[in-house]
Amino acid sequence: MSEPVRYRRERIDRGIKVRADTVFVLATLRDMTYLFLPRFLPVLALLVLPFFVSGGYWEKVLFYSCMFALLALSWDLMASVGLVSLGQALFFGVGAYISGGLNHYLKMPIYLSIPLATLAGAFFCTLLLVSVLRLRGVYFSMVTLILPLLFAHLIETLDILGGTHGLLSLTPFPSGWLAMYLGIFAVIICLFGFRKLINEDFGLVLKGIKDDDRVVMAGGINIYWYKAQAIFIAGGVGCFAGALMTHYYQFVGRSVFALDYTVLPLASAVLGGPGSFAGATIGTFLLVPLSEVLRALGGLRMALYGAILIAALVILPEGLFHYIERKYHQFERDVRV
């Protein structure tokens, strides 16, 4: 009786990757393109895209995608510290309401209200979450799930900040281009900044806290200080997105605390691959335009995000980005066992 022939799949780094990783002086143009093309092309695409969609309906979609990309990036930063948030709407809403309030009540111009909202919002969110920093895993997630709801209800009940009507007729951007490029540059800076940050010493501590917080504590590092810093950065990014959106729409209402601003960033980060930041960005730039194409479905879009979230969790848990990255760096072959 003969044994059946069996194969196993083997993955090997491409030669060019090995060379580009280890040799510090890049010799050939090919090596350089190999390294820079995947970084350069998306940036170029983002910078050029507004010219193609300007003035139309898709301009709004592009702006919208940038805002969600910022939220997804801030989710991913928190997730890499092990703080899985189920309420990015908290950051978004706090930023939106602070900048809207400053503009509406104090008549602040937008070049003051947006930076102020970013900083003050980040401080506010950090202070809010400092009390629950000791919580781990699912307990932290539950707090973040509840907080945006709490704020939405508080605003409705106390009838402050415009109550159920919201704050209307806020100062718009002087031109659509400014808003668009503010959004795009913010996405690019956050994307590459976060990718750099997570590989610095600071980022290593953050990843360490995610993997095993007690070991990091035993190393004599104050993990709460690091967690607070991470929340401050993530909160700032989320609040900035909220503030931009407020002035773009010239309106802020309770809808900024809605489930959309939680589920979509979450779905895009999970679809794209958590922990890589690039994945979260790719995810949003796939999901947001997709949802606009499917606008005819109306309320079903939320259901669709849910379905995508489930599918991504079950079918491709590593995420799109890690899958593409693997295909780019490695080749596969079947080896006879």
């Binding site: 000791r134 509840i146 209800h153 009940t157 999970v270 109306g298 379905a307 489930i310």
Partner: protein, 288 residues
Amino acid sequence: MEIFIYGITNSVTLALIAIGFSLTFGISGVPNFAHGAFYLLGGILTWIFINQLGIPYLFSAILAIIIVGFLGFILYWGLMLRLRGLVINEVIATLAAAIVIIEVLRYLGFSGFTYVLPEFIKGSVQIGKVWLDYQRIFLVGIGIVLILFLYLFTHRTRVGLSFRAIAQNERTAISLGIESDWTAALSLAFGSALAVVAGLAILPLGSIDTEVGYDILIYALAVGIVGGLESVPGILLASFILGFSQILVATFFKAQWLTVVTLAAIVIILAVKPSGIFGKYKELEERV
């Protein structure tokens, strides 16, 4: 007197809502964030059975309970089994499942005054100065029976004990011959079925609104967290604390404060004592 009677009915309502959720998430450690969605789905299925297919009320109710219980079982085998152990992913997946169910129901338009479930017995009775309809009395009765059942079930029967076992220590449970996957799936099925029972008791008091799906989850979460997820006396105590404080707030301030109280209770308890008033098992894993 009014406050007392409404407080009791409100508290038992909360307890009813929380029982199924606590059975899955608290007692056997399987997060079921689709609890509110199942509650809603059960109500709507019953409505369809009665009004579109003409099945008698009792049979439609039983049918809905069985179908949703089975859906809970499928949710475990089809989805959660692949994510088992990654608690966060389990939470995200069930929350996503809840969103899918609720939003599809909303899209199909199952909301508004046409969608009313029949009361068990129509009419009302006067206690002191307060008129109380029979449905609320039934509700209190069902609530008390279910809480007693839950306590006896988790402390006296083999299946109930194994539910608690896999939450405490899954490996030890397996080594003692408890099939942990089977038990977890069963507990999800039980929890979903209990959600429908709660829905059938509570929904006749008003019309069905899809938004309820999210609210129910929050109430269940609130009761579960305040009382301590794995403890039956905790559920009872927490629903009385929350129920009476809601009624007090609604009587002396505005009705909108009701939800704020609930949400604030969750956040405060999570910040101060995440395992809840009666919780014991999980004190080591919940915080550093």
